[in-house]
């Protein structure tokens, strides 16, 4: 009797010790990521910044995913899909057995199904959705990717099948579904919160299907995630993921050196040689899916003359700008799309740096003494342009040598962008970061004839019928090889007409400890830690 009780007591003690040891047990792997800022909230539908998307990506998933490190798509919450030959109907077959996360306010009673997909898209699309206006109701990317124009209807075929009907065929539709704004939220959680009278909580305390669940968010300090034990996919190799928010890049590097974090974002360019020399650290790099350019407003004389635009291209020393301002963190650009994007045309030859030839060309255009112009520069750092003011000064000096007198102009960022889109400038620096890895995402919003209309997104207001026809056609085709041929031709036309001085594609660097493995740099600049391991 006593022996049995002792044995039972022993078992209980062991079990208690095991349970007690769990929270901070040795062997639990923690990865700390030094992040550059706080997320705005926990709903990627409402925001546009990479910082917010990064903080949401561990928790939420989408119908489709980008294969890590690439711009290719692969199934995620949708196992498979069919597109009708006319390209207008897409049917997604949803994955079975996907579990929702839970928290102290919510326990799911069912798996992920079509209702969640319908809810997540209707919230962004339809006024009739009870959540349409919640948390400010600003669905920026849903609008920016033109979905209200493209979508005709969204139907629930059955529990595991949804059908999107489009108004026109849209080749990039599948990559669009892999973007962060297309994240799927839990309808059950949404309904429960609405009933409890606190719908905003859906966007502050997230529930998703992803590999990590949110454990705690300490505003401006840390975000703690723990591995979701019922995750349907490959379980992450780390148990706890911590985002440590540090706004100063020097502080992030100091933490990385002290092993207080194992991976960090956005180092100072000046620190790169020191990081490379440090054997306890490794440095990954990748060209970003972006372009920095100087746009010529072709509606203003004398920039309407292609000879003048070509002359300016030959007058500015691109290599010097890359060395002085990008300091190695940039690739010289000759096409609007970066080399990492399919259909990038290497056959295009960039303009040479030849001030003498530039002067000759200007004289041919009737401007032997040059002309006066403005040269706009952004007041803020952008991913594709680390210091527009400095670049502007270098360009100003180069242009002066061929007789072009440029005055540098700047406005506060929001104002700047608005005025450039209104076409108030003669020459303005700006750029673009790709959203979905599709060339159409660069050419259409920036260089189509539609974009050149007043209020459109084109900084050059350039409208070339041949170019426009090529990109319009390419957007409707489904075969990538066919589309690539058209885009290659389009790049040749753009080069000949020179509506821009293309500056650079910036290179993104990611320092981490030498024992970090499995991290793949995303061409979109997204930070994803699902497959990371610490050796």
């Amino acid at each position: 009797m006593i022996k049995r009780n002792l044995a039972a007591a022993g078992m209980i003690a062991l079990a208690a010790a095991a349970v007690g040891a769990l929270p901070s047990s040795a062997g639990a792997k923690t990865l700390v990521y030094c992040s550059e800022g706080s997320p705005e909230n926990f709903n990627p539908m409402l925001n546009t910044t990479g910082t917010t998307f990064d903080a949401n990506r561990p928790v939420y998933e989408r119908l489709v995913a980008f294969t890590p490190g690439t711009t290719k798509t692969e199934p995620s919450l949708a196992e498979s899909w069919e597109i009708t030959p006319d390209g207008k109907t897409i049917t997604f077959h949803l994955r079975h057995g996907v579990k929702w996360q839970s928290n102290k306010d919510f326990t799911p009673t069912r798996d992920f199904n079509a209702d969640d997909v319908i809810f997540s898209f209707e919230r962004q699309w339809k006024d009739s959705s009870p959540y349409h206006k919640v948390s400010g109701g600003g669905y920026s990317y849903f609008g920016d990717m033109d979905l209200p124009k493209i979508l005709s209807s969204l139907d629930r075929v059955d529990d595991y099948t949804v059908r999107f009907v489009l108004n026109m065929p849209q080749a990039p539709f599948i990559p669009d579904m892999a973007m962060d704004f297309a994240s799927i939220q839990s309808k059950e959680y949404a309904d429960a919160l609405l009933k409890a009278g606190k719908p905003e909580q859906l966007d502050q305390v997230p529930i998703g299907t992803g590999p990590f669940e949110l454990q705690q968010y300490q505003r401006d300090s840390t975000i703690r995630f723990r591995a979701f034990k019922d995750y349907w996919g490959t379980k992450p190799k780390i148990d706890t993921l911590v985002f440590s928010i540090n706004k100063d890049p020097a502080v992030r590097l100091a933490k990385l050196r002290a092993n207080e974090c194992q991976i960090m974002s956005f180092p100072n360019i000046a620190d790169l040689p020191a990081i490379k020399a440090d054997s306890s650290l490794q440095l990954m790099e990748q060209p970003g899916l972006n372009i920095g350019y100087l746009a010529f407003n072709v509606q203003k004389k004398p920039l309407d003359d292609v000879r003048v635009r070509r002359a300016i291209n030959m007058a500015i020393d691109k290599k010097a700008i890359l060395a002085a301002v990008y300091q190695g963190a940039g690739l010289p650009a000759k096409n609007l799309i970066p080399p990492t994007m399919w259909s990038w045309n290497d056959a295009v030859q960039d303009f040479p740096y030849d001030p003498a030839a530039a002067k000759k060309l200007l004289a041919e255009a009737g401007l032997p003494d040059g002309f006066d112009t403005d040269l706009w520069a952004m007041p803020v750092q952008r991913p594709y342009n680390p210091d527009a003011k400095r670049i502007g000064e270098l360009m100003q000096a180069d242009l002066a040598k061929v007789g072009i007198k440029a005055k540098i102009v700047s406005y506060e960022w929001g104002e700047y962008r608005k005025r450039v889109q209104a076409g108030e400038h003669m020459m303005a620096q700006l750029g673009w970061t790709g959203d979905n890895g599709d060339p159409d995402n660069f050419f259409s919003p920036l260089a189509s004839c539609a974009a050149a209309r007043p209020g459109g997104g084109s900084s050059t207001k350039w409208c070339n019928e041949k170019f426009d026809a090529l990109i319009q056609k390419a957007a409707t085709l489904s075969d990538q090889a066919d589309r690539a041929k058209l885009y290659e031709q389009a790049q040749v036309i753009m080069h000949e007409d020179a509506p821009y001085f293309l500056i650079a594609h910036s290179v993104v660097f990611m320092p981490m400890r030498a024992n970090v493995t499995g991290y793949k740099m995303s061409p979109f600049g997204a930070h994803d830690f699902t497959n990371v391991d610490l050796k």
């Binding site: 609008g143 905003e200 705690q216 100063d248 502080v251 506060e412 104002e415 750029g431």
Partner: protein, 334 residues
């Protein structure tokens, strides 16, 4: 005393109106729209911009926006952040304890180190210690916080590894915020090392934030002491045969405290502005750096609400300082 208190409290209302008016107008003078400033290269379509502006009342005439805001304040509603959609008051109370914790530690550091140093410098006037101390305090007061903070991190955290780099506690610890004060909340943690970690994370930010107040307190104490030490009653006390330490501490220091307490009260205001920089360097999640971000984002409700709450705090502290005069110098009470 009571009449004095009531008069001071009566001044709060006009002060509030002035503070809200100033913060309201100043942020709106800065070019930039809260929606536009956060938009990327895509821009914001005009219909969406109009919708946002209408939603946040930004399309109303300015005078109406101001009056609506004042009415809202009277109901105790400080509004919601345009960026995070979270309540301003909720965010403030999440972040405020961190700023208080850091500021209290910094002022304690400044007083507990600065006052004795100032006293000793006054007593040993003219000596190497005196000149050395005053030289160091001038240097300390002249160092810009971002540089000073970063230097401390590079030397003590990276090179020597004695102190952590940034944050309030090691990321390995999961602390439930009960009071918001890490030194208190750490006691609830399962881990023994949590409180040690919290304390060690406070060392560098306290020193960095407290350096300028320390310099000011040390110098003020020294000059106040010098003045008092030359008074007749000190000579009398010495003539009566009282020991050096007793004269200095009991008789001299107590009378020297009035200008020193004034300075400490004024330092609270400068501590808050220093906190903004210190919080940014040490990734200390407090209100200082929340406010800076709200300016960059043109988050009007956060800036207005945050400024008002901090102004309230400063007013209360100054009220408290004035009340202590009466305690220190009975003559003022009447």
């Amino acid at each position: 005393m009571l009449r004095y208190l009531l008069r001071r409290i009566g001044m709060i209302v006009p002060t509030f109106v002035a503070v809200t008016f100033l913060s309201f107008m100043l942020i709106r003078l800065v070019p930039g729209d809260p929606i536009e400033v956060r938009a990327g290269e895509h821009g914001v379509p005009p219909e969406r911009l109009a919708e946002f502006r209408h939603q946040f009342g930004l399309d109303q005439p300015l005078w109406k926006q101001f009056l609506d805001y004042e009415a809202q304040l009277l109901h105790g509603d400080l509004g919601t952040s345009i960026v995070t959609q979270d309540s301003v008051l909720h965010a403030f109370f999440q972040l405020f304890p961190a700023t208080i914790e850091l500021s209290v530690c910094a002022i304690l550091f400044a007083v507990l180190v600065g006052m004795p140093l100032g006293v000793i410098a006054a007593v040993k006037r003219g000596s190497g210690f005196d000149y050395g101390l005053m030289g160091i305090s001038v240097t300390g007061a002249s160092m810009p916080i971002p540089w000073w903070g970063l230097m401390m991190i590079l030397i003590f955290s990276v090179a020597f590894g004695w102190t952590p780099v940034s944050g309030r506690i090691s990321d390995a610890y999961f602390i439930e915020p009960v009071t918001g004060f890490m030194l208190i909340d750490c006691w609830w943690s399962d881990d023994a090392g949590a409180c040690t970690s919290a304390a060690s994370h406070l060392i560098l930010p306290t020193i960095v934030l407290g350096t300028i107040p320390l310099a000011v307190v040390a110098r003020m104490t020294r000059s106040a002491m010098l003045e008092v030490l030359s008074e007749d009653y000190i000579r009398t006390a010495r003539a009566k045969g009282l020991g050096g330490a007793r004269v200095v501490v009991v008789h001299a220091l107590r009378n020297a405290l009035i200008p020193v307490v004034t300075v400490i009260g004024l330092q609270v205001g400068s501590l808050l502005s220093g906190a903004i920089l210190t919080e940014t360097i040490f990734s200390w999640p407090g209100v200082g750096h929340w406010l800076i971000e709200s300016i960059q984002r043109r988050d009007y409700p956060v800036l207005q609400g945050g400024t008002l709450l901090i102004a309230t705090l400063v007013m209360l502290v100054n009220l408290g300082v004035d009340m202590t005069y009466g305690f220190l110098n009975p003559r003022i009470r009447r």
